[in-house]
Amino acid sequence: MNNDYSLMKGNEAIAEGALRAGCRFYAGYPITPQSEILEYMSTHMEERGGVFIQGESEIASMSMIWGAAACGERVMSSSSGPGYDLKQEGISYLASYNLPAVLADVMRYGLGDGEITEGQDSYWEATKGGGHGDSRQIVLTPSSVQECADLTYLAFELADKYNTVAIILSDGAISQMIEKCYLPDAIEHDKDKYDWAITGYKEKDATKVKVTNMDRTIGHEAWNELMRNKFKTIYDNEQRWEEFMVEDAELVLVAYGISARVCKSAVRSARAQGVKLGLIRPITVWPYPDQAFQNMPESVKALVTVEMSISSQMAPDIQMASKFSKPLYGYLSTLYVPKTEELVAYCKSVLAGNENALEVY
């Protein structure tokens, strides 16, 4: 760990975190609010001996990183909103051959063009998406600039460990925010270490690498088994979350990303006013940290999901994780970053029995 901090934006921390994790191939297309990732890569990739390409589309960019990933390189792309939609094709292809890759999805709010500002309504797309077919991707949600660097670094390790796509699910607020960041040490990645990668040279008698749907090469049953085991292993081993003052809480907030930051302020403020709030902050949202909800203290009367979405995209995951053991309420701030005192007031109102529980459907 580096003892000197840098003051940087969340997006820059993602890009620098990636470079320090040994990412040496980036292709992407500009879209607000993630363009700083692309810009940073364009400035710094070459000096680290890597390749930067500003693609003609998100679709082409994904195909470029799929080619590079098949060669064993550590690869990355990033986008937001409508641009991220176009990445789905590539995610499915990467999954079809178990190729590791890291994507950053910097959420902006709304449907269609929507807004260019912060939002958290691409949760479903990131956690349940992945294009056509049956695959899961690891999804990590930074809630500080420090975590932008740390979780990107981790994303490359996990992608490599499980031969999977790992997604950094950031948002317009975290991406544009400047904070102190202690950057991880740089490592070099050895692209020649894999037996499955295209190397550019194979002896005549050597087994050749055929990068295509793996179910074709190993058979459907073996493929199904491989996939099931992979998802289960990730589910069992990679749940990550932070608990904040849950031990004696009456009401536990559940939030990730920028909303979790507001929730921390709300917990502190409410406790100063004698109201016992706590916070569960998922850091992975796939796998969802079900373990965090398994032994909640008796004191907890209800849960409150705090999100910038219309439909409470995280609510079904919370209900599954808590096995419907507590009533679930929702503070859904849609287009706006939640307000601390408004949230505290809402929680008081929940405790006073004046709010309706969330209908999840």
């Binding site: 390409i53 060669c71 690498v209 990068v211 295509t212």
Partner: protein
């Protein structure tokens, strides 16, 4: 007549329909790679369409690109493995329709790969639908049952006219309807591989090729159609040869 030995690079039987041109193209590719001593360094990028069958048959590393994205996939590979002999084997749907942007931008970036486009005037793998870039006016397909109509679908377009205007190394069109043209096509392909070997830049070779199954013609009639009809719109010639000087 001397019978040429089958290239060792071809190590399996393949699944193309009888009379299809893809097999000839694959054989020419294998011959070129062997004659140039490039087999061990070769990486094929095949499109998820008829070209796909080549992935199992050629004894070299291969990757099946998402439909239309072969040039972009090849870009990723060539950038990470610049010593490799990277070629694309794709159809006219991949290269000129859904993937035209990828093809053009790979040309614009002058990525030193060899791109081989099989122009058979149809979407073969999906059952013979009209190809907006290459199906001739009046040609009947399952998505233009009365024949391609200009009002509804525009006219076919010679994409090499666009591609030759980029600052690329080489653009040419060959054809497979007789021995003379097959030999000429092989020379074009060889030139494309040599250009890559010599680090010269992007080469694209389009090949007029028959699809008897979807054209609903005999193999012989298909070859006649290629010569008498398709070549009128898609002339066989070298469009561009930069000669290595940028």
């Amino acid at each position: 007549m001397a019978i040429r030995k089958k290239p060792e690079m071809i190590n399996q039987q393949v699944g193309w329909c009888g009379g299809c041109g893809h097999g000839i193209v694959q054989r020419l590719i294998a011959e070129c790679c062997e004659e140039l001593g490039l087999v061990e360094k070769t990486v094929q990028v095949v499109d998820i369409a008829c070209a796909y069958w080549s992935i199992d048959t050629l004894n070299c590393d291969g990757i099946a690109g998402p439909h239309g994205r072969c040039a972009a996939v090849a870009t990723g590979i060539k950038k990470v493995r610049p010593e490799a002999n990277v070629y694309v084997h794709a159809g006219d749907g991949c290269s000129y329709v859904i993937g035209l942007a990828e093809t053009c931008y790979t040309a614009m970036r002058d990525i030193p790969i060899t791109m081989i486009v099989v122009n058979n005037g149809t979407f073969g793998m999906t059952g013979g639908q009209m190809n907006p870039a290459t199906t001739l006016l009046g040609d009947k397909t399952v998505s233009s049952v009365k024949g391609r109509d200009e009002k509804a679908a525009g006219k076919p377009f010679d994409m090499l006219k666009i591609l030759e205007t980029f600052d690329i190394e080489y653009a040419a069109r060959g054809a497979l309807y007789d021995t003379k043209h097959i030999n000429q096509t092989k020379k074009m392909l060889k030139k494309g591989f040599e250009n890559q070997r010599d680090g010269k830049g992007f080469s694209i070779i389009e090949i007029l090729s028959p699809c008897p199954t979807n054209w609903k013609m005999s193999p012989v009639d298909s070859m006649i159609k290629l010569e008498k009809e398709n070549e009128l719109i898609f002339p066989v010639r070298v469009y561009k040869d930069r000669g290595g000087e940028k």
